[in-house]
Each structure stands twice: as C-alpha cells, then as structure tokens.
C-alpha cells in the first residue's frame, strides 16, 4: 500500500469541470497543458478524461443554475482523496456574474475548495503556481 501511495504522490491526475464558464479559463488551462511553453506535465500531472481517475479537480465557471446538478454529480464521482482548485474569479466569488438569477455559485457553497486561483482569466504561470500548491495538499492527503 505504501508503494502505491509513494507512486501516486508523484503523479496526480487532473480533471477539468466546466461549471458554465465562458471558456476563457478553459483556454488558459489548455494552454498550461498542451503547449510546450508552459507544460504542466513537468509537475508530474496529466489531464484525464474521466472523473473516476481524477485526483486534482480544476473547476471553472460560476456554477450556473442549469449545470449545477450535473457538476455536483460529476464531482461526487471523483474518488476521495481529492483536491479541488477553483480557477478564475467566477467559481471563487461569482465574478462579474455575482448576484445574477442564473448563478448558483460561489462554488464553495456546495464543494470544499482547497486552492483558489483568481484572475479573469489567470495567466498560465499563475495556474501552474496554483496546481503546484494543490499537489502539496495532495501529498499531505494521501
């Protein structure tokens, strides 16, 4: 068991949830992973396509009323222990959509968030900084 723990400490898998984002933060997330200039895989993490493999969850968007149930359902499918990162000001506080009738957020009303990365959108280096913070938390939690 300790062998598996040691191995998985080095390679947390990332999973993205779009909770009604404008796609600005999603583009920046794609930038941090997909272009060689920022390359988040140097930190040992990799994006995965299914919530069941995820360790670190990156949530973007202000949690609109329409996607709320779906987001919470997907979030439930992610096995514990997990680290949640809110990317952009929308999931953190509602951002420019705060107090709108279509918004159920901020996201920490429903989900335990661990790291916040403010920005509209945050720059790739800031996202990498936040993911590095999340990896530290992930190592403690295992």
């Amino acid at each position: 068991m300790s062998f598996i723990t040691n191995v998985s400490k080095q390679s947390p898998w990332l999973y993205r949830i779009n909770a009604g984002s404008c796609n600005g933060c999603d583009v920046e997330l794609a930038t941090t992973a997909l272009i060689p200039r920022y390359d988040v895989e140097r930190l040992g993490c990799q994006y995965c396509g299914t919530p069941k493999h995820a360790d670190i969850v990156l949530i973007t968007g202000p949690l609109t009323a329409r996607v709320k149930e779906k987001v919470l359902q997907v979030y439930k499918e992610i096995p514990a222990p997990k680290v949640t990162v809110a990317v952009g000001i929308c999931p953190i506080s509602g951002g420019v959509f705060r107090d709108s009738y279509a918004i159920e957020g901020p996201i920490d009303k429903y989900i335990n968030v661990d790291v916040n990365i403010p920005g509209c959108p945050p720059r790739p280096q800031a996202i990498i900084e936040g993911i590095a913070m999340a990896i530290e938390i992930w190592k403690e939690r295992l």
Binding site: P36, R98, V115, N116, G119, A126, G130, M133
Partner: protein, 170 residues
Amino acid sequence: MKMIKVLLNNLIQGPSTDPFPFGETFTPEGLRARIHFDETACTGCRMCEHVCASGAIRCEDSEKGMKFTVWHNSCTFCGLCEHYCMPKAITLTEDWHLAHKQEDKYKMIEQGIVALVSCEYCSKKMIPSGPKITAVAYQGTNKMIEKLGKICPDCRRKHSAKLLSKGTSL
C-alpha cells in the same frame, strides 16, 4: 530549409519551455494584476466603485475616514478603476502571484482608509485634496491652491465669491 534552422536553433538554445515554477519566469510589461491603493492620493470621489464591473471595490464611510476595499477574488483586472482615477491613487501592479489557499480567501484584499481632516474655516470633516490631484487639476501648485485644498467645498465657494466681489482674481 526553415525546419533545419528551427532544429539547429533548438539544439543551441535549448527547449522553449518556461522554467516556472522551478525557475524564473517573465512578466510582460503593463500586465494588470494585484491592485495597489495609495490612501494619501485618494480624493474620495468613488468613481472606482461606480465603474467596477464586478463590484470588487467598496467604499465605506467610517469615523476615521473613507474606507476603500478591493477584493482580488472578485476583480477582473480590467483596469477601469485605474483609468478613471484622476489622482492615480489606484494602480495595477505587475504582481500576479495571487493563487492562494481557501483559508486566505477573504484576506485577498487591498485596503486603505482615506483620513478626514477638519476644514480650516468651519472645522467640518472632509477629505483633503492632495498634491497629486492638484497637479492634475491645476497643472502645478501655488499658495492659493494649497489653501483651497484645506477648506471644505462650501467654504471654498464663499471664499472664492468674496475674492471675486473684491475684484481679485483667483
């Protein structure tokens, strides 16, 4: 031919990956990030609160003075507050290290209290006009302007009217 050039360049210069977080990174000039507030320059016009798209700026009245608060977790870093701030009390710095843990969520603020002073004539509490706004408004300063900065708008009006009726120009 182009491809060979790129390959050779890669061999000489090494990978183009940004070394952050293991090394230094670049910050482009004019990047809009963490907000800095200079409470000595603020004149309390509250235009920043009015133009703030995400409602991140709040100006509250207290006994000590006007309390300015900006919450970085709601700010879009659009720079409108800086643009409309005449004395440039609000400036957007290039410090983008804003990622933080959840327990610090409500500590991500920049705060300042613009202190009130008493009017020299009627001793009513008011926000003085500092040297930064007089530099913008009058393109310089002299004794008269400095004196006008220390008295409240009502007294300033009376004072100016008196001077005008005497035939002395400001």
